[in-house]
Symmetry: C2
Subunit: 345 residues, 2 copies
DNA sequence: CTGAAAGCGCTTACAG
DNA sequence: CTGAAAGCGCTTACAG
């Protein structure tokens, strides 16, 4: 084969050079403290001399694991995920795991495919970033004689019971609404994410609860549909433009929505924040550089990625996914920039 | 192990049910036309009945391959790469390969690590998106008794000789300059990428050649250093603000630079494009929604990703990386939006 | 067209 | 603390 070098030393070669058995070489490498110091030294010397490296396929076959975890991402093309993946990748590497990435935007995996990731020996665990995976497919994962370690991150499926890692969406919305109210806004609207997505509900719920806590009525005309994208923001913007009386502030379910919204408003001479304040959610890198720089709720994507990977790796190590599903909530942070101000008038 | 089900059927089980040898089951699965129709039918029936799936680790060990290719990405946190990875991932999946992703931003892999990806049985091939990997590490890959299939994409290392897939950077810059010249600009500047990056040189070279072809002198004061980032654009913008006489147009080596540049100019009441036209490179999604919408050179990132994956997969199939290194050039496209216009006065 | 058998390179009870 | 040996689940010459 192209990718294989005929001269690759095997554990056999190391054993010969070190004058020990292959078992001892294997032990030296996996649990060094179980062999004598003398043995250890000569084995390690032999490893160095031969340039030996363990063959993963062989080890994996023998130990019945894959050394990989798989991230199921709703849409790899969305830059929101890049930093999350980076955090996951680093954490995996530290534990000597590979990170596999699959995109669910073209085809939603069914029960069979989900199970297949494990049964085919592709991954030891799953980090699912797509809350729209069907309940039966997910539950099938837990109903196996030996369960397949899987956790949710960012999104989740409320009908199922997996460990999950997510941002504090409700608290983010609370901060957003409070920030606007503090500046004197009372007519505050919301552009929500797609109603098929849990995050949309979490954020809309947070928005409503925050409004209620401040005794601000929610004008349902100001609650617009969206789907987290720039395009959705643009459509919401057009809807705002058609209104006789507009809200003085809009809280968006994502930065992308906010960007699209502001773009349309700007192009139609509705000035942000003078005429209307706009608040995002995520704090993608662009938020700082957009015009006007976007006030938003920051999700700590690196932390989300690392936490999820760490959680799954721990589960794998302890071989235990049993104990009741936990929710790890990662704090969000309010970042005030220039897209919000006190209302005009 | 947690991830393994004790009841997983093996090829043995299928053989028993079908009343044939394991060899025949294996053949039926890998080259169906080499077995008799009758045998094939009963084997396939047995596969279905048992729910058999091949175990990758075992197959990989036996065939001395990994079924994975590895993408070395300079910085996963950069959204520029997300759509590229998506294209690669899809192409890999079609050929039943896994896509592994590693980030080189924290540590640049040396010869040993690069070789290790193959020798450890992690990947059958490499797609290298980081042109800054050191020459000796790369050449070591080619100097193995059996070479390790690797190609460059987007970036490349000019001191080495690998197959590569890249955008037509020079032509992109030519279109950019021509677009500005057509509108009457003569004082055209450039914000370049980091001088350690090949793309910076390719684009700056393209810029200079295009200027020369149009008999436009390059004012060296208008050629600013950068590094592809928003922050670099911001710094370049501050430099422009300090100038007594400014260029009437700037061609940036990336969209991010252009965004940062425009952000600073806008905040200082220098209006784009009225006071100065700004052109980007990449056409990231945000380009359309930025204010003003960015005129830019579109790189077809999906195509780049797919092409690179396809090239590498073909090499793997033909087991041949020998024939002289080819350069696959992916066309770029000019996207005219609102950040460019005729110069004032 | 098919089967018996070897072997890919490891790890791990088991025995000492 | 160490070794002999089995075995993880496949694929593939080889022989028929």
């Amino acid at each position: 084969m192209t990718s294989m070098n005929k001269k690759m030393p095997k554990i056999q070669d190391v054993a010969r050079v070190a004058g020990v058995s292959t078992a001892t070489v294997s032990r030296t490498l996996s649990s060094p403290d179980v062999v004598s110091a003398k043995t250890r030294d000569s084995v390690l010397a032999a490893v160095k001399a031969t340039g030996y490296r363990v063959n993963r396929a062989a080890r994996n076959l023998r130990t019945q694991r894959t050394g990989a975890i798989l991230a199921l991402v709703p849409n790899l093309g969305n830059p929101f995920f890049s930093e999350i993946l980076q955090g996951m990748e680093r954490t995996c590497k530290q534990s000597d795991y590979n990170l596999l990435i699959a995109d669910t935007s073209e085809t939603t995996p069914d029960a069979d495919q989900l199970e297949g990731y494990f049964r085919d020996g592709q991954a030891d665990g799953l980090i699912i970033l797509d809350g729209s995976l069907p309940r039966d497919a997910l539950e099938n994962l837990q109903n196996q004689p030996s369960t397949y370690p899987s956790i949710f991150m960012c999104e989740w499926n409320p009908e199922t019971n997996f460990h999950s890692v997510r941002s504090d969406n409700a608290h983010g919305m609370k901060m957003a609404v409070k920030h606007l109210a503090d500046q004197g806004h009372t007519d505050i609207g919301h552009v929500r994410g797609p109603m098929t997505n849990v995050l949309s509900h979490a954020r809309e719920g947070g928005f409503r609860k925050a409004m209620e806590a401040l005794n601000l009525p929610v004008n349902e005309n100001y609650v617009l549909d969206g789907d987290f994208t720039l395009e959705a923001g643009r459509m919401a913007g057009q809807e705002l433009l058609r209104m006789d009386k507009r809200p003085t502030a809009m809280v968006c379910a994502s930065d992308q929505i906010a960007f699209g919204l502001i773009a349309v408003l700007s192009q139609n001479n509705v000035i942000v924040p003078d005429d209307i304040s706009v608040l995002g959610f995520d704090d993608v890198e662009m938020a700082e550089f957009f015009y006007p720089p976007l006030t938003t709720i920051r999700q700590d994507r690196d932390c989300l990625g690392r936490s999820a990977a760490k959680l799954l790796l721990e589960r794998l190590k302890s071989r235990d996914m049993s104990e009741g599903a936990t929710v790890t909530t990662i704090p969000v942070e309010m970042v005030v920039r220039s897209s919000t101000s006190a209302p005009a008038n």
